[in-house]
Symmetry: C2
Subunit: 195 residues, 2 copies
């Protein structure tokens, strides 16, 4: 299947050789596939019994279904996610996060974070869940985990709405990049919330 | 929007009068709208700050997108949910469940529970999450919450694969039905897992 961005999703079970995996990795190094990297990491974490995190399916608004063809959808459109892209469980705790790329080297712009997502993350925190962002600075090839409270704070300041890179360096955790898992982000969760 | 079963999803904000709500309720009493009842209950729990539970969007496999019309999906089909329909957070804990109706009075048949869902729920339990089923016996108009471990046990026995009604009576918790929330299922979660 093709995603709206035209990229193919590759399941880890379909990645047959180290060479293929390396080519995925180099794609990742160009900052092209944060979503793929997280999906592959989640498969690894699931298969190894470390954590159970899933991507929520993209919500789709269905306009027309052709039942004569076995419930084939013939008209529909993408809806904005009103929650976040990922959630699941680690050590009994509820985990909830959003992942974003940025081409900026100096800050992460909050332009494509919706107010619904901010409200959702505030609710997650209120209910004692673990809420964060995974942000990939593509040009630096650095991926950070930052607690959602910082994103909420900067979102609510108003004005230009972006989070300076230094906040990630000082308050976030740099996620180790590797082959399997691509992103050791559960290590960062462990450091930030379970130690 | 219409769901595959041809029913319209009614948001609580669209339910304007007690009469309309009663008509929803009576539909529920006929066991027609377990999904609607849970969605309405989740809205209530979210708005009251009690719990944060969401329905996962139905996964859809997209075959064709018309970008000339602003990313309009012109060919797609429904995929089977490989996890469960609902998850979220209550008192910091990860909550995960599946909801099903049955017309049988004597047992809940496991025919439309997929092996993927059983594997998923086993994983939830392994990671310390709270996993259960909400089963509506439509003719009796009784809705039970049953810990997923029982469903897993009966699923793995083999043979006819169904759970006798008595198991729900003895091991499950009868969920109180009401106007708001339609189903007090968090009370049942509290009784079973937090007391």
């Amino acid at each position: 299947m093709k995603y709206p961005n035209g990229k193919k999703y590759v399941k880890s079970s379909e990645v047959k050789t180290v060479k293929e995996h390396r080519s995925l990795l180099s794609a990742a190094n160009r900052g092209m596939s944060l979503e793929e990297d997280i999906n592959l990491s989640n498969e690894y974490y699931r298969d190894m019994g470390i954590a159970l995190i899933n991507k929520r399916p993209t919500p789709i608004n269905i306009v027309k279904v052709d039942y004569s063809r076995g419930a084939r959808i013939t008209d529909a459109y993408f809806e904005k996610q009103s929650t976040t892209d990922y959630n699941g469980v680690y050590k009994g705790k509820y985990i909830d996060f959003e992942a974003k790329n940025t081409k900026s080297e100096t800050s992460f712009p909050l332009g494509n974070i919706s107010e619904h997502q901010i409200i959702h993350l505030k609710n997650v925190i209120k209910h004692g869940g673990v809420a964060f962002f995974i942000i990939c600075f593509q040009i630096k090839n650095e991926v950070y985990l930052l607690d959602a409270s910082f994103v909420i704070k900067f979102y609510e300041i108003g004005g230009r709405k972006s989070i300076p890179y230094n906040v990630f360096k000082e308050k976030g955790v740099l996620i180790k990049q590797d082959y399997t898992p691509r992103l050791h982000y559960i290590d960062a969760v462990e450091t930030l919330y379970f130690k």
